[in-house]
């Protein structure tokens, strides 16, 4: 029996549930010679802002146990240059391009959303809210439920295409920001962005990356991400796209069984640009072996009752 691999994230139909994560595949073009973009369900483009950014000074990355920290500083060419130079080259693909974007004020977010909404190559928008709100003393939008609501609602008003909100894990209770985004009109939630971390080069007595803190990604993050996807999927009605440390099929399946409708692969692309193909093959094989006719049926299929939660938990 053939497994139906396509899934729907709200109004967007994806040919399969495995996408490339934002910031880990450029604008798609640097990926082309390493992976057939049509083979994946979607490609989340590097985060764009209206005016672009030259990014942070190096060193921008360092390794941590089973993970890495990055502080790229959202280097990007800006929406206008993206539309002029890059978007035309993406038209030949059938895959869904998801335009990741950000700003430092609600107005900047809205401007980017509006401009990207007009770009034909874009199938949906993904809003990165893990950015400091410079009007609110630099507190990240994504950690304040009211800011999440405000910026989501504002962007929702100006764009006709589906709007995904990418949640920050750097919160006490992610269901609160998840619901804020849902209530403000988000069509889907991407869960999760990187978690702030720090590493020190003790011999040189300096921070390993220039900005001191950077975002933790990779397998180390996975248990936190799976937990959050599970929590969010229970808390909202809109689809959840799971991400965080996925490098093989069983990792992706953890997210799907926990409640995600699709997954994104980020850091794993660095060591193996074709990791998504192995993951897809593994998901299809799993569906066959476990009697799932469609990849979409995996979502939330963990058996909740097998291991009953008994009383209050504190580890």
């Amino acid at each position: 029996m053939a497994v139906e691999m396509s899934v729907k994230i709200g109004a967007v139909r994806l040919s399969n549930p495995v996408l490339l994560a934002s910031g880990c595949c450029g604008y798609g073009l640097d990926m082309e010679s390493h992976l057939d973009l049509n083979a994946v369900g979607g490609v989340c483009l590097k985060g764009l802002s209206m005016s672009g950014s030259e990014g942070n000074p190096p060193p921008r990355i360092c390794e941590t146990p089973a993970g890495m920290l990055n502080s790229i500083g959202l280097q990007n060419v800006g929406v206008p240059e993206f539309r002029r130079t890059y978007a035309p080259k993406l038209r030949k693909y059938r895959t869904a391009f998801i335009a990741n974007f950000y700003g430092h004020t609600v107005e900047e977010y809205v401007a980017a959303a509006r401009a990207l909404d007009e770009e034909p190559v874009v199938a949906a928008l993904e809003m990165n809210i893990s950015c400091p709100n410079i009007r609110q003393g630099g507190i990240s939008f994504g950690t304040d439920p009211r800011s999440v609501h405000e910026v989501t609602a504002a962007c929702r008003r100006v764009c006709g295409k589906p709007l995904w909100v990418k949640l920050s894990p750097n919160v006490t209770d992610i269901t609160v920001t998840a619901r804020a985004a849902q209530d403000a009109g988000a069509d889907a939630l991407t869960c999760i962005n990187t978690l702030p971390g720090m590493a020190i080069d003790v011999e040189r007595r300096t921070f390993k990356i220039n900005t001191k803190t950077g975002g933790l990604s990779g397998p180390a993050l996975r248990p936190v991400a799976v937990r959050m996807v599970y929590q969010v999927a229970q808390a909202v009605k809109i689809p959840v796209v799971g991400i965080g440390g996925i490098s093989k099929a069983s990792d992706a399946l953890e997210f799907l069984l926990a409640g995600a409708q699709a997954v994104q692969v980020g850091t794993a692309l660095f060591t193996n640009p074709q990791a998504p193909l192995d993951i897809l093959e593994g998901i299809e094989d799993y569906c066959s072996r476990h009697g799932f006719g469609a990849a979409g049926d995996l979502s939330g299929a963990v058996e909740d009752d097998r291991s009953p939660r008994r009383g209050p938990v504190c580890s």
Binding site: G55, G67, N272, P273
Partner: protein
């Protein structure tokens, strides 16, 4: 490009260096290009490590690397045994610009430490073009001078310098460079530790064209993470260039050294 699987056929360890020969799907490549390599280990260390091609032969599917032990990643790579597997993506990066060279040109190649593999590969390649390069190699002590056999195999007699005078001229490689510049070379190509490259750039500035192959901490090696950037002089296109994609070879004039 899928993850390539190579099988180690030889590993000659000498001090903190390991000269590894492996067999597998070798693609055509150019001097300065590199692979991102890892072994059959778990998620720690997570990232592959950039390693330059020392030599390769597409038809016999052989490729050679020289690896120096710095930290955990290079330690593991350097301790791979014959029969073990080496996983890699690549070849990545640009190459040393050589298209303007003609046979009568004098060409200087300057290297040290893990900067030597691309220098040796470049020497092999310019010789094949009919250009015989002069190779200058520097190191702290005799033990830091590497790939002398390989250079001999190319019939190149490198000019050597060690800081402690244990072999060749006593002093840094820039002492050799200063002298060699008297013979009016057409171009200088260099690869080695950052300090050496800065010194080479200083010596060459305003006197001779100079191309440097840089190192940077890398996550992907193929341009998508933007983690490996170096700051450049020209304004167009932003301040930063990716060492893995626009590099690792840059014109010395373009670099601001941060």
């Amino acid at each position: 490009m899928a993850l390539k699987t190579f099988q180690v056929t030889e590993n000659r360890v000498q001090g903190s260096y390991a000269a590894i020969t492996a067999e597998g799907p070798v693609s055509p490549a150019l001097p300065g290009q590199f692979y991102m390599l890892r072994g059959d280990w778990g998620a720690d260390p997570l990232l592959s490590r950039p390693v330059s091609i020392l030599a390769q032969d597409v038809s016999s599917r052989q490729i050679r690397f020289l690896i120096k032990v710095f930290g955990e990643g290079s330690r593991r790579l350097a301790s791979l045994k014959p029969g073990e597997l080496l996983y890699g993506t690549g070849p990545f990066g640009n190459t040393f610009p050589v298209d303007f060279l003609s046979p009568e040109d004098r060409v200087l190649l300057v290297g040290g430490g893990v900067g030597m593999p691309p220098i040796v590969y470049l020497a092999e390649s310019t010789k094949a073009m009919g250009v015989s390069p002069v190779v200058l190699q520097g190191g702290r002590t005799e033990k830091d001078l590497v790939l002398l056999e390989e250079l001999a195999g190319l019939k190149i007699d490198p000019v050597l310098a060690t800081e402690d005078g244990s072999r060749g001229r006593k002093g840094r490689v820039t002492v050799l460079l200063e002298e060699a510049l008297k013979d009016a070379p057409r171009v200088v190509y260099a690869c080695g530790p950052e300090g050496m490259l800065q010194a080479v750039a200083d010596v060459c500035r305003g006197r001779v064209a100079c191309y440097l192959s840089l190192e940077a901490y890398m996550a992907c090696g193929y341009g998508v993470c933007l983690g490996c950037v170096v700051s450049v002089r020209q304004e167009e296109g932003g301040r930063y260039r990716r060492v893995c994609k626009e590099g690792p070879v840059f014109s010395a004039e373009d670099l601001t050294w941060r």
